[in-house]
Symmetry: C2
Subunit: 341 residues, 2 copies
DNA sequence: CTGAAAGCGCTTACAG
DNA sequence: CTGAAAGCGCTTACAG
């Protein structure tokens, strides 16, 4: 009995506009796509009618015809339960990506992949759900990259390029990052500057270490292996490795930590054992997550310009899809000085 | 010269399978959709071929035919620059949503809307990009809700239902949350418990206040208006309002803060003026963001079971789309005791 | 239990 | 500058 708003369903199509304008569907389609063949008068008339009728093009139909989805999938891990602060970096990047994508008329799909799943690329590419991928996953990233390269799937990844495969990448300038961080600590007059790194097998970490070494040498300091440890980026490992650092080199007066989360963990340990930050031990983190401004003391850190990273991931991937041009982009970093160093 | 992997493009279609199986496309379609009309033998043969050929159904075609996108859009604000910690709550909820959606074969689209944009619902619904929306936006939420209700768009929103409109909602149990928080503080023996609330016009905040009042009364304490202030959930406003609270009621010995971020801001102020947490002032937050475990002292807070919230948002929206059943779900809360109280 | 046919709404050679 | 027609890959009455 009650009137269902079914009439709303009869979405206005190109055919409706053609009828009203007294032209063919071809003409309407061309006019709406601003095809130069169509006369200005015709175009205006058609656009006016489209506006009046609140015409919305049917994307599935368009995608079917064009054989492209105008959609990019953002690939990350399912946490199964929820996001954790560990994903902050990933999350903060989303804003930049969507805005870069939107500028070019692309949608962003969230894709949480199971680390063991090998079928997701086909399920999205062949199925016409997405035209390409943005890879932020850390776990099993190499395996995913190999898979994607082998199936010639368009994607871009955050991180140092793999030497054997050719694909688009965006990375931060880790060498400079390490140099800035350690240089700042040296400039503060610190003499026994430790390095609390990410996983030692990661190229990013080696580069940061190289920057760190360079800065120490330039400051006339030596790189003491006792003051170098490696963790896994998490705040937990930051705490743990800070402890072993203090065991091995109890006299350290500064530490360059490879992630903000690790730095937060490290600062907690320092506080627990009664060391003041920055008075006794100065701390520099990495990533400039927004969380760095909320902790006490606020964290001096290396900023990767996350919005820019997002935008570049979007733009370079779309460029690759269109031109197959493989880009490797290094994003500049800068030191953000706060209270901890 | 170099062989382009173009042959990969000839995605296998239903017609290919039909040819190979020696049946009609209709039969293949039915078999693949597990239509009971099709004989088991036929089904098995067809499924085997589909598997062998790595068949992936073409989603745009399917969506065009079925007139539904099997996609839900997650609506939030474009930060224009990047996510901030303010969006942590929103972000943490994404995992639960996607998993709930995936279970039912739906994709999740990220939609960053401009607060003033009024066109996004049509651009997604009428265009066949999405079948419904999940609303997490706080700014201008009411305006968006009004718009969606008026155009009869399927959506679900996080927050207390609007009295005049009928739509699906999911909320936390704010009354109990307030009671748990204040009750815990009273149980600790605190006598002058302050309330640092969210915006006073929000129903959620009133409910938390009501819970707070109840708990105080049950503990034989009085609710002193001098110990009640309101902010806007941000850590900045937490700091600011904590200051005015201390001005007005310098003798307070505990504070129930309506968001973890505000609580973090408040704790910074307390530390600055030399009050120890929890010794001098005990602090309870709200939301149980993962950040609460990273701050010092770790934050006692009210947990909203974020993964469950996400899952319910997904499930109830899909249910609404299918049945038009309007649900209002209240998610249980629990107190998570850490160091700050 | 299976098939032929129409249709979903668009785009784009091809022909004027 | 414009139109008729075919086609993208699927689903589903309708007819056996």
């Amino acid at each position: 009995m009650k009137p269902r708003a079914v009439e709303k369903k009869k979405a206005c199509t190109i055919a409706d506009i053609a009828r009203e304008a007294g032209v063919s569907k071809s003409t309407v389609s061309r006019a709406l796509n601003d095809n130069p063949l169509i006369g200005d008068g015709t175009k205006q008339k058609i656009n006016a009618i489209a506006k009046k009728r609140h015409f919305q093009i049917n994307m599935p139909a368009r995608r079917l015809t064009l054989k492209q989805s105008n959609t990019i999938a953002f690939v990350t891990h399912s946490m199964y339960k929820q996001f954790s602060v560990c994903d902050l970096f990933t999350m903060e990047i989303l804003g930049g990506i969507t805005s870069g994508l939107k500028e070019q008329g692309y949608d962003l799909l969230m894709l949480f992949v199971d680390p063991c799943d090998a079928d997701w690329p086909a399920q999205h590419l062949a199925a016409g759900r997405a035209d390409g991928f943005i890879l932020m996953t850390s776990t099993r990233k190499q395996a995913h990259i190999k898979m994607l390269v082998e199936m010639d799937a368009p994607f871009i990844a955050w991180g140092i390029p793999h030497p054997k495969y050719s694909y688009c990448t965006v990375i931060g300038d880790d060498l400079t990052g390490g140099k800035l961080a350690a240089g700042h600590l040296a400039g503060l007059g610190r003499k026994r500057i430790a390095f609390l790194g990410g996983p030692s097998e990661e190229k990013e970490v080696s580069l940061r270490f190289e920057g760190y070494s360079t800065a120490l040498q330039e400051a006339g300091l030596i790189v003491d292996p006792l003051r170098v440890v490696h963790g896994d980026y998490s705040d937990k490992s930051g705490a743990e490795k800070m402890r072993s650092l203090l065991d091995r080199a109890p006299d350290l007066d500064a530490v360059f930590v490879n992630s903000d989360l690790m730095a937060i963990g490290a600062m907690q340990v320092l506080r627990e054992i009664g060391k003041r930050v920055p008075e006794d031990v100065a701390v520099v983190g990495y990533d400039n997550l927004s969380i760095t401004e909320k902790v006490t003391p606020t964290l001096t850190t290396v900023s990767q310009n996350i919005p820019l990273v997002g935008k570049l991931l979007a733009q370079n991937l779309l460029q690759y899809i269109r031109t197959r041009a493989v880009t490797h982009t290094t994003v500049p970093v800068e030191l953000v000085v706060r209270q901890s160093a």
